[in-house]
Subunit: 503 residues, 2 copies
């Protein structure tokens, strides 16, 4: 048994465990390791080992012979002081890789196989390339809907689950891709004011310029301990919290870390990802929003229908009653893109300000109405009117203020970026299209969501008339470098299409 | 444009470029990078950038804010002194990834698409996970034989090509998996003595206990500059060199670095890998050896035939006339496993020693005979006798000695490992099977091929009678740790199956 002394190496290798071994180490020589080999690190003789991929080091200042360098991820998992002697050996490939090979050869896997794969993934026994192999094996071709169901169940099973003690726990989810689409921050106060339980846990933005958690964070604390979360939900019937504190379907987070750089988003993975998180969050009724449009994630009606059926198939079998609505995804919703700007839009709607963005208000009322109709006592079709009454009477605003107070109001909310620039219309005419992807990209380059005050504020939407030189939108940024990146991008492609007016 | 100062980080990340950025670096903050993001590193404004995957560092001792840490691979590619200012930016995904996504969705790709993929891979624009996605996309299901041809061509096109100035350039290749199968070191001197050109370039062992290059290196220098290689081949008609000095189908090496840890070896990838290397090495006629047996790579006759047809299909279309022989892969060939032991077997056959391993001699003569029949002047069926005459007359030995002298004879050849242990028969009976995989594994654990004198020497082969306590094989090792690993493995599973004799 080879013993090596642990040495933390302050490198963040994200969702992959990496260990560092000096090229001169006898263990390296004798075992004939290659880079990308995997090792098992044992704390005790009998315990469960931690698995890591090996990088070879030629600088004793990073890892010396006799030492085992470990990345931050491994250090956290081992939870042992530097210098501790650990036993290392060649890792045998995780047993569930056989099932991955079966999947790659075109076979359908059963629940037991997906469960074993999920267990090995959550225990960090898979390297990034093994995860990539699994994801590609499960890509569209030959990934049957029963397998989507098995994978969803396996991802729920290998994480924690929130319990709310009620039979109707409402939730909503948008598949994403539409900037400014901050309906959740309106729907939760409306639905909770109606009395229906809606303990909303959201993610932070990953590839978009703002997630619900990033945006809510402008107003209130979103990073809540489980007990606090339960107390708030019990009193207010709703919350707008970040879901990252609980271990909900952790396999999904690991898969996403590889899916993203691969730009993979097969319908099967999307459905398994969304539904496993919802079941783990304790939701029982779910409204899913699929925006449809030429620059949205789903671009054909047929594609939207196929996705809807897959959601329904899996939802029905996993104990999640869900409804799917296909919405207009032809342009951004509301005006602001970026946390501070989106908060402004949401508060304008709640406060019934004269200039509040009507499209955001209408979409939120439609969706909130559908959720309120989950209530058996509400007559089909009556939900919209109930939602509108709650909003227009100021009860939604009061509920939002109560939730903000309960979660912990931010004493000094961030303000808009001090650098700003107006992009103007190159000619006179009508706005015929706004590119969701380009607007999201400009807002991200400007610094959103890390800089909450960065983003884009739209002054014109599709169908509106503009005069040459009239403002189309304003870019906000906090840092000069971001500001320049965003301006460059906007100058290359403004994201707006105009149909010029004829003389 | 962000400028950062280069800082080498002495970490070997194998075939993947990795760059290290301090978490506090403004560039990291402003661009909102995630780990696994890719960046472009530009030497000059207009030059071709080097692409690297990003790891985030929390220790300024490795990489400080304002610096760009680069792994050994990146340092070699950039070829700039430490401290040089370089421009970095977010890398756009390589354009050919679109084709990979098409492949994953089940589409067949054309030559142009494979060429673009190969170009991006050879320029290190693909991360490991992107390569894994490509490989899985090209796994057995839906990888058409025309696509194997396209990929083979693309891999040849993106590397260098040796030219020998003759129309008949002979080569042989075994798909591997059989320990001790060192026929090449007999075939080359026989064929070259016949006068046929056989400039053999071989690989080092990757997962096996010895490759032809590792074994030949016991006797002679194998690491030859292109000019030296050409001069030797011109004079001797043959050589036994390592192929790694030339840039032959370099994409293949990058793909193998990911295939291996994934344990992927689809027939399509195998054929493309072997044939691209051969075409790049300038071969025009090729004999392929497919060993068939229960512990060989190919385990069914049907599987061997399918593989043969794929080799023929691609070979015919890429200008490589090839013949495939299916040979007995039921047990190791010869007696020694490991570089020094295999050299001993080869030299015993060449020197016509009384105890020389007959199976190795016979197999080499059969294969050499088939290659000699590539000669238009040799009557079909006469090759074996010609080969035998060359061997038995001592002309093969003389040719081998001439090749060794030409390549540079080793003054002090390595000797057998000083640690040795005899594994004995647990009972009396007949050897009915020897497990190729287990024998290879024991020899590797003993230190082969890194320690040339390590390995396994078989005293009994299939069909032989043994008495209880009689030696089955001897394990040789140089280092105590290796010795123990190999003995442990042999005690757990000797690799031998005996049918006990009845009283």
């Amino acid at each position: 048994m080879t013993k090596l002394k642990l040495r933390p190496v302050a490198i963040d290798t994200y969702k992959e465990n990496v260990a560092y071994l000096h090229r001169g180490c006898t263990f390296y020589r004798s075992e004939g390791f290659q880079a990308l080999s995997k090792i098992e690190i044992h704390k005790e003789e009998d315990g469960q080992p931690v698995i890591a991929v090996l990088n070879i080091v030629d600088d004793a200042g990073i890892t010396a012979p006799g030492e085992l360098g470990i990345s931050e991820q491994v250090f956290a998992q081992l939870n042992l002081p530097p210098g501790t002697s650990v036993t290392v050996k060649h890792a045998t490939p995780p047993a569930s890789l056989d099932a991955v090979h079966d999947k790659i050869s075109g076979e359908a896997l059963d629940y037991e196989q997906y469960l074993k794969i999920a267990q090995d993934i959550v225990e960090n026994r898979y390297s990034k390339i093994e995860i990539a192999a699994f994801l590609v094996g499960c890509a569209e071709t030959g990934f049957e809907r029963d397998e989507v169901l098995h994978l969803t169940r396996a991802m729920v099973e290998t994480g924690d689950r929130l319990e709310w003690g009620e039979t109707l726990v409402a939730d909503k989810h948008c598949i994403g891709g539409i900037p400014g689409n901050r309906t959740t921050m309106l729907i939760v106060p409306i639905v909770a004011a109606h009395g229906m339980l809606m303990p909303k846990t959201s993610s932070r933005a990953i590839t978009s310029p703002a997630g619900t958690a990033d945006t809510m964070e402008v107003l209130a604390n979103v990073d809540l301990l489980p007990d606090t979360l339960h107390a708030i939900v019990q009193r207010e019937r709703g919350c707008l919290a970040w879901g990252g504190t609980a271990r909900l379907a952790p396999v999904d987070d690991i898969l996403i870390a590889v899916e993203r750089p691969l730009s993979m988003d097969s319908p099967g993975q999307m459905v398994a990802s969304i539904l496993s998180k919802k079941v783990a969050a304790g939701s029982t009724r779910l409204l899913i929003d699929i925006p449809l449009g030429p620059t949205a994630k789903v671009r054909s009606h047929q594609g939207a229908l196929r996705l809807r059926k897959l959601f329904e198939y899996v939802g029905d079998r996993i104990g999640l009653e869900l409804e799917v609505v296909i919405t207009d995804g032809s342009q951004p919703i509301g005006r602001g893109i970026g946390p501070v700007l989106e908060t402004r839009d949401v508060m304008q709607v709640l406060e019934r300000k004269p200039g509040a963005p009507m499209d955001l208000r209408e979409k939120a009322l439609q969706l909130a109405g559908r959720i309120i109709e989950f209530d058996a006592d509400v007559r089909g079709g009556a939900g919209y009117h109930i939602a509108r009454d709650i909003l227009d009477s100021g009860r939604a605003l009061a509920k939002m203020e109560a939730i903000i107070e309960a979660q912990g109001k931010k004493p000094n909310p961030p303000s808009l970026g001090r650098l700003h620039h107006v992009i103007t219309a190159p000619g006179t005419g009508t706005v015929t299209a706004i590119d969701n992807l380009q607007m999201a990209s400009i807002a991200r380059l400007a610094g959103a969501p890390l800089d909450k005050g960065a983003g884009v504020d739209l002054h014109k939407k599709t169908g509106e008339h503009v005069e040459a030189g009239e403002p189309l939108y304003t870019i906000y940024a906090a840092f000069p470098a971001d500001y320049e990146f965003a301006l460059d991008a906007a100058r290359q492609n403004s994201g707006y299409t105009l149909r010029e007016a004829h003389e």
